[in-house]
């Protein structure tokens, strides 16, 4: 805090607050290892902005004497280092966020440790950063890790870079050393497409060129680090782009108001603007921009607002409202950079969930085209991606999504992948372009067989075959099981007399021969559906053991789950909802199972349900539990 500001604070607090309420915000990431003096630099920034509180400062002085590395001087690194303790406790070392403030800006610093889990942490920290401070030790210059940091910064679309050439005090504040490092870095940065680069000679430890130009470097006339961070313009890109509003929440306080709430991620919007709703493509006009502070004439990128439209178009969470003149593309197949973040490696073909904007869709990845060595930037062949690996792969979605290339807008082109079973975030990704049909040929690299179908659906396909007397309750139970599986997001189909006898098998009667043919056809259809990855519920009297055995043989081990729905004949006959038993007793219905046609009860069914003892609902749960235990569903 400058002296002028301190004076203002003491003498005119209102003027001081007004000044501070006009501050803007800058989010940046610091890249480098402890050896480069990163912690010292961050500690110095916190200290110099006077936002280190008195009691922290007393602790710092005590710690500096006890464990510091700077003799009698303050060890600023101790202000931010909590890592040793974390390591002892076995806590994941990852991104820490620190805050400091000057009169002109508030700063959010993403601080990532330099070694373990580096890629994952740095990518996370960089995803929200508008600027990167890359530290190098003046004595060692541009190292492998400098290249790695810079590549990740470029990949994550950070357009503004500060190369902080630190520890200049250890090379006698040499202009030659600084200029050599700068030249070296600029050559490399141009290769990887980094844009706006500012190089600053520093000593974080001694405070040179942090807030004031140092007398030790009279040859340097550029900005100080704080001076640069305070004034660099970073918002122009997204503010100038076409309007984008991913809809988070449909705001319906009453029948007369229907608004769409979200945070603008690009461009600006005014009442009267034409907008397109994506992916549906319907157009409408902005009626109003509603906030608790009153309706706005204009809203810009970064603001959270609620928009009303002039027409009653269908808009839900996950849709994007976009400038009608420049809508984003909508697609379901892409090439993407994938940064793998989970201990469990990437499984090509497995269904993951993708969250992009406010939309969650199913996603499968093809085998990577290649992975990237972040140290050398070489491309190497890969079958999968492991923790902290980056690669390029095609990705296939189960529904189309609106998107802009990541390079244009990180919030319209960045996504995360979520594991369906652990619910963990397993990867981050950057969409670059949609695949045209012609590009899709190599998608066939994965053979689409039963296993592939099953993987896509995230389930073990099987046939749950319910057998029992007419009126035993087979269909009732099958219907409940199917409803429950459906609610769990499982892919199912229910085969029963109703939908088979009226079409596929309408040429068949109820003689023994026709009964056998009926079951043979049902077993074949059920088998095809299992190949397609479905969980099939088959509800048929199927009185003969041999035919049920035939159905079992059509499938692989474990895919046929025989459920004996056992009801005493007397009970079934008493229920007789369709009046069939009565008809059969009167001799009006020939070949009726249990009356004048035999029922061969299963000898060793997978599941046996006594309907006299449990309800249909409980029976359904027994079947679901079995499927779970057999790992057919998770």
């Amino acid at each position: 805090m400058s002296h002028a500001a301190t004076d203002l604070l003491a003498t005119d607090i209102d003027a001081y607050l007004q000044l501070h309420e006009r501050k803007t915000m800058l989010r940046f990431i610091t890249c480098g290892s402890v050896d480069d003096g990163k912690s010292t630099l961050i500690g110095r920034l916190l200290y110099d902005s006077k936002l280190v509180f008195e009691d922290h400062l007393m602790a710092l002085e005590a710690d500096s004497k006890k464990v510091g590395t700077q003799g009698e001087d303050l060890d600023f690194a101790l202000l931010v280092d909590g890592l040793a303790a974390e390591r002892e406790q076995g806590i994941t070392i990852d991104v820490a966020y620190r805050f400091f403030s000057t009169e002109r800006r508030k700063f959010v610093v993403a601080d990532t440790p330099g070694h373990e889990q580096y890629t994952r942490n740095m990518v996370t920290g960089a995803s929200t950063a508008e600027l990167a401070v890359i530290l190098v030790d003046a004595r060692s210059g541009v190292l492998t890790q400098t290249r790695r940091h810079s590549y990740l910064v470029a990949l994550l679309g950070i357009k503004h870079v500060v190369l902080a050439v630190n520890k200049l005090d250890l090379v006698d504040y040499s202009q030659t050393v600084f200029e050599a490092v700068e030249a070296d870095y600029r050559t490399f940065a141009a290769d990887i497409g980094l844009g706006d680069i500012t190089c600053i000679p520093l000593s974080a430890l001694k405070g040179d060129n942090i807030t004031e130009l140092s007398a030790h470097t009279p040859w340097y006339q550029g900005p100080t680090l704080i001076g640069h961070l305070e004034t660099v313009e970073v918002e122009d890109d997204i503010q100038d782009g076409p309007f984008r509003l991913p809809v988070q929440w449909v705001n319906r306080p009453n029948l007369d108001f229907r608004g769409f709430s979200g945070q603008i991620v690009a461009g600006s919007v005014r009442p009267g603007d034409r907008v397109t709703v994506l992916p549906s493509g319907r157009e409408s006009t902005v009626a109003g921009i509603v906030t608790a502070d009153g309706d706005l004439d204009e809203a810009v990128a970064g603001q959270s607002i609620t928009v009303t439209l002039t027409d009653e178009v269908d808009v839900s969470r996950g849709d994007v409202l976009a400038a009608a003149s420049e809508p984003p593309a909508v697609a379901d197949q892409f090439e993407a950079h994938i940064i793998w973040m989970d201990e469990q490696e990437m499984l090509p073909g497995r269904p993951y969930l993708m969250k992009i904007g406010t939309r969650i869709v199913g996603a499968t990845l093809a085998h990577p085209k290649y992975k990237i060595n972040v140290n050398t930037l070489d491309h190497t062949a890969a079958k999968t991606l492991e923790l902290n690996e980056i690669g390029v792969a095609n990705i296939n979605l189960d529904r189309p999504v609106p998107f802009d290339p990541y390079e244009q807008n990180r919030y319209m082109g960045g996504f995360i992948l979520i594991d369906r079973f652990t619910n963990g975030t397993v990867a981050a990704g950057l969409l670059h372009f949609a695949l045209r049909r012609a590009d899709n040929v190599h998608w066939q690299a994965i053979e689409v067989n039963k296993e592939a179908h099953a993987r896509l659906k995230g389930q073990g396909p099987c046939v749950v075959w319910l057998t029992g007397l007419s009126g035993a309750g087979k269909s009732t139970i099958a219907n409940i099981v199917e409803r429950k599986l459906h609610e769990m997001g499982r892919h199912t189909y229910l085969l029963d007399g109703d939908n088979v006898r009226h079409g596929l098998n309408r040429d068949l009667g109820f003689t023994d021969v026709d009964r056998v043919e009926n079951i043979r056809r049902v077993a074949e259809v059920a088998g095809l559906m299992v190949d397609a990855g479905l969980i099939v519920l088959a509800s048929f009297i199927s009185p003969f053991r041999a035919e049920r055995e035939m159905a079992r043989q059509r499938l692989e081990e474990g895919e046929f789950v025989e459920v004996f729905v056992n009801t005493p004949l007397a009970t079934a006959e008493e229920r007789d909802r369709k009046g069939l038993y009565a008809k059969a007793r009167r001799g009006e219905l020939a070949n009726f199972t249990g009356i004048d046609s035999a029922y061969e009860a299963p000898l060793d069914p997978e599941i046996r349900i006594e309907t006299s003892q449990i309800s249909a609902e409980q029976a359904a749960d027994v079947i679901i539990d079995y499927l779970r235990a057999a790992r057919r569903i998770l």
Binding site: F53, G82, Q89, D94, R98, T128, Q263, I356
Partner: protein
């Protein structure tokens, strides 16, 4: 080109977080502690869902030992805003008469607050709970996620924290798990005060200096807020001009001597005499009670 101020940016970010949490949970709730951070969080919630009301109730996990002015403020505010407020007091604590004097601050805080919170969340089956914690409060919070998954036993597993990229929060959870959501993660104490000033957000009068009856105990100024507080033979409450930098249970909350009786006065005083906020909270000084440990046990 219009540049957002830092307060506008922080506000927009918090609103985005709240809308995500509400959209992707079944039964959200906002923990309301009556303090200034709660006031800011509630103000943001009103803004986030306007013209709808915040689509969740407030939950105050009460200890019965808060300052009287806090209860008055709470009841008045909730009535004015027309919001649902659930008040939960751990029945076991009521039965055992748990209090900071007989049982000590650690037991008191654990039983009323930590256990009380878990019981309340279980009772109502909330699957997402907003809390007002900020990353700048102390080193251990600097790496806390905005969306933090808790097990069915409400435990925080530091190894299972999900990376958070862009504005993309993964709110999915398995059966029994719940999510704690911290919309003020990136706010500092100064931001909070500036926002209160800018938005004219009502706060409990205890934050402003006034003559209050206090006794000095272990170096802290404790306000004698009611006659439940046992006094030592030599202790006589004296009226001194004091205010509170944080609010909690009155026997555990140290006052600071001050004449700052306006909002700007408070901010000025805070910036000129820089001693950090949690110093006034007696609970942080318990030797065994690192924030990390408390968090793992389910404390916010």
């Amino acid at each position: 080109m219009k540049m957002l101020t830092h307060l506008q940016s922080l506000e927009a970010e918090s609103i985005q977080i709240m809308r995500e949490a509400v959209s992707e949970s079944e039964r959200p709730v906002m923990l309301y502690s009556v303090g200034k951070d709660s006031s800011v969080m509630l103000h943001l919630a009103v803004k986030a869902f306007y013209p709808s009301k915040p689509p969740f109730p407030l939950l105050h996990v009460d200890t019965t030992w808060k300052f009287r002015e806090m209860y008055e403020f709470r009841d008045k505010l909730v009535t004015e805003l027309g919001l649902d407020l659930l008040i939960y007091q751990n029945p076991e604590c009521i039965e055992l008469g748990i209090n900071p004097f007989t049982h000590g601050s650690a037991v008191h805080t654990d039983m009323w607050k930590t256990q009380g919170l878990k019981q309340a969340l279980d009772k109502y089956g909330f699957d997402a709970a907003f809390g007002g914690a900020r990353r700048d409060e102390e080193k251990a919070r600097a790496k806390e996620r905005v969306f933090s998954v808790r097990s069915a036993q409400h435990r925080w597993d530091p190894k299972q924290q999900r990376p958070e990229l862009w504005h993309l929060y993964n709110v999915r959870r398995s059966a029994g798990e719940s999510i704690r959501v911290f919309p003020l993660s990136n706010w500092t104490e100064l931001d909070v005060w500036q926002y209160i000033h800018h938005e004219e957000i009502p706060i409990v009068p205890l934050y402003f200096a006034a003559p209050r009856p206090v006794v000095e105990r272990d170096g802290a100024l404790i306000m004698v807020d009611d006659d439940r507080m046992p006094l030592e033979p030599n202790e006589v409450p004296v009226d001194r001009s004091v205010r509170f930098r944080t609010l909690g249970c009155y026997p555990l909350t140290g006052a600071v001597e001050s004449d700052a009786d306006t909002l700007t006065g408070i901010i000025q005083e805070m910036l000129l005499t820089t001693s950090s906020e949690r110093q006034g909270r007696v609970i942080d000084h318990d030797s065994s009670s690192s924030m990390e440990k408390k968090k793992q046990e389910g404390y916010f």
